[in-house]
């Protein structure tokens, strides 16, 4: 008997659709596999397009991850104040070099007047010519910084043993030092460094504390440094014309912005910046650094997107071309399918699916090579490896889109072939 026109319940419809999806997917795999060389050449275009996006985005992500982890030292509640900007990609601007140094006196004044801050640490790097204990020499690359007590919290330095610098150490210009974990182990291999003496640039210091290990990052050791009172080092190792840095910690996240504004105001007043004039110092927070980095990399990202888009459009046209050939070649197959009950929609789905599968093959290889390539580049730049899942997904999404856009016309052509003519086609 003639059955009435099928009406599907929602579940049945879902099942039929997913079965159709699966079937057309299998058919597409079959079709792609039966023309290996042709498929490979066609998906090369998509591969290149996706590769170029992913390789650059992976390298960028690696760079970003590295910078973020370095900025993590600052933490969300800490900001730094210094004379020069943290990163400049353009020529070092004369206006920065003409700025007056931030003096120790200014720093101490800020510390006194910045009432909103939990602490203001003052900091200055000193050159190291030699550093040794009676047991060993400090490893190469050791650094020496002058600090105040508040710096420890701001830098997120945690004490392993002993004590940190005190106000008395700073006020009294005492010859004491706190060692990074790794440095302490090298200088005193046998036992605790506590109470021992080391020599820095010919002057003796007592070790009063050792910090917890922070772990080494690729390319540098974070624990290879010694800390002395900023005042002690200031007279001995610095030229008079050297700028100090401020590490300011706000009480909580909510008061962060207010604290920044207060410090800015105090410092402007101390440095006699006229109202309305530009700051003659830089305030660096995690946010502002990230913003700066993002705006610097924006141009690169836009460029890559543009190039990739062109590559993908070219690839799409290639796909459309090959799909049109495929439709002509398979006219009789289309006729057979139509004769035994395929609707136009079925034919359409099948050919779009084929284009999408073709694109996805290229895309998947492109993503894979892109991630590998990006990480190889990252490796040479001494950056940690990353897998940018979001970009990988985005890349594959774009591939599907290219397949759908450029597969639709050939699929439409295939679906609208006359079944009688197609069956007769030789």
């Amino acid at each position: 008997m003639f059955r009435p026109k099928q009406t599907y319940s929602r579940w049945k419809l879902l099942r039929v659709l997913s079965a159709e999806f699966k079937e057309s997917f299998l058919m597409a795999l079959n079709a792609v596999a039966s023309h290996k060389l042709r498929s490979a050449l066609t998906l090369l275009g998509v591969l290149v397009g996706v590769f170029s996006i992913i390789v650059v985005m992976t390298a960028m992500r690696a760079m970003q991850t590295k910078i973020e982890s370095e900025l993590d030292v600052l933490g969300g509640q800490t900001f730094a104040v210094q004379k020069l900007p943290g990163i400049t990609f353009d020529r070092p601007d004369e206006k920065y070099w003409r700025r007056k140094d931030i003096t120790l006196a200014q720093g101490l004044e800020v510390k006194k007047r910045a009432t909103l801050a939990r602490g203001v640490g003052l900091e200055m790097n000193f050159p190291v010519t030699e550093m040794f204990s009676s047991y060993a020499k400090a490893p190469p690359g050791v650094s020496l910084t002058g600090e105040t007590p508040d710096s420890f919290a701001a830098q997120n330095w945690i004490l392993h043993e002993g004590r940190i610098l005190s106000d008395a150490d700073v006020d009294g210009l005492r010859d004491v030092c706190v060692l990074g974990n790794n440095l302490a182990e090298v200088l005193f291999p046998a036992g605790s460094a506590m109470g021992e003496r080391i020599k820095i640039n010919g002057i003796g210091y007592s070790v009063i504390g050792v910090l917890e290990a922070k772990g080494s990052m690729q390319g540098g050791n974070q624990d290879n440094f010694a800390v002395i009172p900023i005042t002690t080092g200031f007279g001995r190792y610095s030229s008079r014309y050297q700028s100090i840095g401020l590490m300011v910690q706000s009480r909580d996240l909510a008061s962060f912005d207010d604290t920044v504004e207060q410090v800015r105001g105090v410092l402007r007043a101390l440095r006699k910046v006229p109202p309305g004039g530009e700051d003659d110092f830089e305030i660096l927070s995690q946010d502002s650094m990230m913003q700066q980095i993002n705006s610097l990399t924006l141009a690169v990202r836009i460029g890559v997107t543009l190039v990739s888009s062109i590559a993908l459009i070219a690839a799409g046209i290639g796909i459309m071309n090959i799909m049109l050939v495929s439709v002509t070649e398979r006219t009789r197959e289309i006729g057979i399918r139509r004769a035994i009950g395929a609707k136009k929609r079925n034919i359409m789905t099948q050919f779009i699916m084929e284009a999408v599968v073709l694109c996805e093959f290229g895309g998947a290889i492109g993503v894979l090579l892109g991630v590998i390539g990006g990480n190889v580049a990252a490796h040479f730049l001494k950056l940690p490896a990353v897998i940018p899942f979001d970009w990988a997904l985005f890349g594959l999404g774009i591939c599907s889109l290219v397949g759908i856009i450029f597969g639709t016309y050939p699929a439409y052509k295939a679906a609208n072939l006359d079944p009688i003519e197609s069956l007769r086609y030789e």
């Binding site: 008997m1 003639f2 059955r3 026109k5 099928q6 099942r15 039929v16 079965a19 159709e20 079937e23 079959n30 039966s34 009789r332 197959e333 006729g335 057979i336 399918r337 139509r338 004769a339 035994i340 009950g341 395929a342 609707k343 136009k344 929609r345 079925n346 079944p419 009688i420 069956l423």
Partner: protein, 228 residues
């Protein structure tokens, strides 16, 4: 009620300025279970009639009732469904998908009717067994002989238990011995209650049927029962 009822069926083609009357006012009734041969020289309109019967084409005028449903005014999607469920095609050139094995070829109509994978496999295997190819299911068409290919095609035509089987010159590409085997298969199908149409221009083939309809110039020239 008849299985097939054609009333004043006409099909005209426009070829530039000229109008070609491929079929003129054909009226015909076919009962369930009949075994009909359609004969006629090329250009007579027999292909047009077959396309109309197979719901591949729609008439310019007149009505075609299949199983009590008027299919002459259906849209493309509805026709596809009718073809899927009601009609099994067998072609002169077999028209199998070359890259799919026998089983996949027979399954194809079931894919479009939305049958589940397991059921599909079972039904397709049954159909292949019915035409005597149970041991050839994983062979591709180019690994099969002409007669075997046509059997696969017949299995594909049968797999959806259609109301009519339409065979267009089914022995045209076969040697006479294999052709006879195929015609015997059609006789079996007819005996089991299937309605079978065979379009042919060979008298010998037509004589297997129980009713011969001759077409000439778009008209039914004769319609007579065959005495066996």
């Amino acid at each position: 009620m008849s299985l097939i009822c054609l009333k004043n069926l006409s099909r005209r083609y426009q070829m530039g300025e000229e109008t070609i009357h491929a079929l003129r006012d054909v009226s015909l009734e076919i009962e369930r279970g009949e075994y009909v041969a359609i004969m006629g020289p090329s250009g007579s309109g027999k292909s047009t009639l077959m396309n109309l019967l197979g719901c591949l084409d729609t008439p310019t005028s007149g009505t075609y009732e299949l199983n009590g449903t008027n299919v002459s005014e259906m849209d493309d999607n509805e026709l596809a469904e009718v073809r899927n469920r009601e009609i099994g095609f067998v072609f002169q050139t077999f028209n199998l998908l070359p890259r799919s094995n026998a089983l996949r070829n027979v399954e194809l109509p079931l894919i479009y009717s939305g049958m589940t994978f397991d059921e599909r496999r079972r039904v397709a295997l049954e159909a292949l067994t019915a035409v005597g190819l149970a041991d050839r299911v994983t062979h591709k068409p180019n690994e099969l002989s002409g007669g075997q290919r046509q059997r696969v095609a017949i299995a594909r035509a049968l797999v959806n238990t259609p109301s009519i089987i339409l065979a267009d010159e089914p022995t045209g590409n076969l040697d006479s011995k294999t052709g006879d085997e195929i015609m015997t298969l059609f006789e079996d199908l007819s005996r089991k209650g299937n309605t079978v149409f065979v379009v042919t221009h060979e008298e010998e083939v037509a004589l297997h049927a129980r009713r011969i309809i001759r077409i000439r110039d778009g008209l039914i020239a004769s319609d007579e029962a065959v005495k066996h």
